[in-house]
């Protein structure tokens, strides 16, 4: 029972971070219909900018977060303007490859500045653990779940209530109609990338705090694919359900069966979902039949 409980908490924490990473991915896909293979690298860049501001420059945590957010917004806007905009209307192959190229560049830039060794970062979240139902529950995982839940709620409220959020949904729904209503589609595209970079930053900082500041953070980006396919490529609630499911599934498989199998189980789920229900649990049924 206690193993189950702690596996669940670890899984939920992983899932919460995955959901944040997937949120950025879905935002970009919804608004601009681009599949972003560089999502993991956005996490990586986010984690390292926070590290640079917090540890290298020694800024207080609030200021460091602010620097991180500003940098993420800037990165998102620059990437959209100079990499993705020239490719509007190109084939999916080109768009996928340009984000893959971008991911190589981002990873290389991080490598140039910080090398490949693991960096030490003082714990932001408390490292203690509490006893609960006979199991040791690490406190920082609970914090991760809480922070992710807060951020995801904030994003959901933003889409539901704010002017810009509604504009984004309008663009996702129908670009032509949104244009005629006076919404600047370009600005929405830039905003989608900026918001995606910010949510990736939060995910990256959380992930770095519970694991370590290292290059491996980027590999988290690939597990985003099973998550979004499970939840539906264009569904924000889907990222939460998908993220938590995949996160917990990985932990259970790793705890009860085989840690190696846990690495590949998301992809097996991915293939099964694609065979049975390609648009995911909550995605819009708009898949092209061939």
């Amino acid at each position: 029972m206690s193993t189950f409980l702690s596996l669940s908490v670890y899984g939920l924490a992983d899932g919460a971070i995955l959901a944040l990473a997937a949120l950025g991915f879905v935002l970009i896909y919804k608004a601009t219909s681009v599949i972003n293979f560089a999502q993991g690298e956005f996490l990586l860049v986010g984690a390292y900018t926070f590290y640079a501001a917090f540890v290298v420059l020694g800024l207080p945590i609030i200021l460091a977060s602010l620097v991180g957010v500003l940098f993420a917004v800037g990165l998102g806007v620059v990437v959209e303007r100079f990499v993705l905009r020239p490719l509007i209307g190109e084939s999916p192959i080109s768009v996928i490859m340009v984000t893959i190229g971008l991911s190589a560049v981002l990873r290389a830039v991080v490598q140039m500045f910080f090398g490949t060794s693991v960096r030490e970062q003082p714990a932001i979240l408390p490292r203690d653990s509490i006893k609960l139902f006979g199991g040791q529950i690490p406190l920082n995982r609970l914090f991760v779940i809480a922070i992710a839940a807060f951020v995801l709620t904030a994003f959901t409220m933003f889409f539901r209530r704010s002017r810009h959020g509604i504009a984004m949904r309008a663009v996702a729904d129908d670009q032509q109609a949104a244009l005629t209503m006076g919404i600047s589609v370009r600005r929405i595209f830039a905003m989608a990338w900026a918001l995606a970079a910010v949510s990736a930053l939060i995910a990256g900082v959380l992930l770095a705090d519970v694991s370590a500041v290292e290059q491996n953070i980027a590999s988290f980006g690939l597990i985003v694919f099973p998550v979004v396919i499970l939840g539906g490529l264009d569904s924000v609630p889907g990222t939460i359900v998908g993220g938590l499911t995949i996160g917990m599934l990985k932990q259970y498989v790793s705890g009860y069966a085989d840690p190696g199998l846990a690495e590949v189980i998301p992809y097996i789920v991915l293939v099964l979902i694609l065979m049975v229900r390609p648009y995911g649990l909550f995605g819009e049924t708009r898949i092209e039949r061939v």
């Binding site: 080109s94 490859m97 991915l270 293939v271 694609l274 898949i287 061939v290």
Partner: protein, 352 residues
């Protein structure tokens, strides 16, 4: 016929010819001379690089059949290379079959497995297909890593030195002898691909790429075209994988990760999607790039010592930048640049 206004054909036969102008025959002659002279001019280090290029050419031509000509994006290249390499290595080392038989079986096995993993393409397109092939890549590599029987628990397979019907590769002339083997196979692969697209099957691949519904309307069997495209392409890739196994003489899963799939996609993007010549240019370009960067960094080590420390990072950055810049500036790659250069010369002093 080449005139100042362009190349015009007077018969269907002429249009179908592989080479149209005298300049193209002259270029062919020069190329043959360069290829024959290469092993006598180049040192062992560069000849080794040329050999890896020749293997990459086979793989890239195969991938271009699928991605460039049929429009089915695949991130599973690394996995298919692994299938070819492991099949050939295991058959050779454990079953003791002659190399030629092993390689042929490896090609057929990879074609079969490629066709199997191509089945999702019947239902999925574009983005979804990319993600499905990403999953197949990860699953194949997982199987290869964890199935201990494959490497008898060692994690790698040692492959004995190549021996073709008693013609043995010797240590002193290793690269030199391999060069001829690989050159012949690469030329055969390129010619096979060129000719494939002059047949009905090849044309049906292109029809599927250009518009699948229109293709079906004119009588192309979509299911057959897509599955065959996966099989044919994977056959080429399996050959490249088997050759990698015998050339490097060890097989480990690290050689076939997702990065390899991306590298091959980069080759055909840089070279030019939907062009056999482009796949060749792209393979050469992407394999030469890291070697040339190493040369440059060695040359300027005196003035800029920090460059040498940053070399791995710089290689990665240049790799990414090349992909991004090609896609933004010339999405049709080196093949198109070459085409434009030729047109410029032909029409000079006029612009068009």
């Amino acid at each position: 016929m080449a005139t100042a206004t362009g190349i015009h054909h007077r018969s269907y036969r002429a249009e179908l010819a592989l080479r149209h102008t005298r300049a193209e025959y002259a270029r062919l002659g020069l190329m043959i001379m360069a290829l024959v002279a290469a092993p006598y001019v180049l040192g062992n280090y560069w000849l080794g690089i040329v050999n890896t290029i020749l293997i990459a050419v086979i793989g890239a031509v195969g991938l271009n059949i699928l991605v460039g000509f049929t429009g089915q994006i695949s991130l599973g290249q690394g996995g298919f290379l692994a299938v070819g390499a492991y099949t050939s290595a295991i058959l050779h080392e454990r079953a003791g079959l002659p190399v030629v038989v092993c390689v042929v079986i490896a090609v057929l096995t990879t074609a079969g497995i490629g066709a199997f993993f191509g089945l999702p393409a019947l239902r999925l397109k574009g983005l979804y297909l990319a993600i499905a092939t990403l999953a197949s890549q990860e699953i194949i590599i997982f199987v290869v890593r964890r199935w201990n029987w494959l490497s008898e628990g060692k994690g790698f397979i040692d492959v004995s030195r190549l021996n073709l019907f008693g013609w043995e590769i010797k240590r002193e002339t290793f690269e030199f002898q391999w060069y001829w083997v690989l050159l012949v196979l690469a030329v055969v692969a390129v010619l096979a691909a060129r000719n494939l697209f002059r047949t009905g099957l090849g044309r049906s691949f292109m029809a599927v790429r250009d518009h699948d519904i229109a293709a079906e309307a004119i009588g192309v069997n979509l299911t057959r075209a897509k599955v065959t495209a996966f099989a044919v392409s994977s056959g080429f890739v399996g050959l490249a994988g088997a050759l990698t196994a015998h050339y490097t003489e060890t097989v480990t899963w690290e050689r076939f990760t997702l990065d390899v799939s991306v590298l091959y996609l980069a080759m055909i993007i840089v070279g030019g999607l939907g062009s056999v010549a482009g796949a060749v240019y792209g393979a050469a370009f992407m394999m030469l790039l890291p070697a040339l960067l190493t040369e440059v960094s060695d040359a300027v080590k005196g003035q800029l010592p920090f460059l040498a420390d940053q070399l791995p990072a710089i290689k990665n950055a240049v790799f990414g930048l090349v992909i991004v810049l090609f896609l933004i500036i010339e999405p049709r790659g080196l093949a198109r640049i070459w085409q434009r250069t030729k047109d410029y010369v032909r029409f000079w002093p006029f612009r068009y």
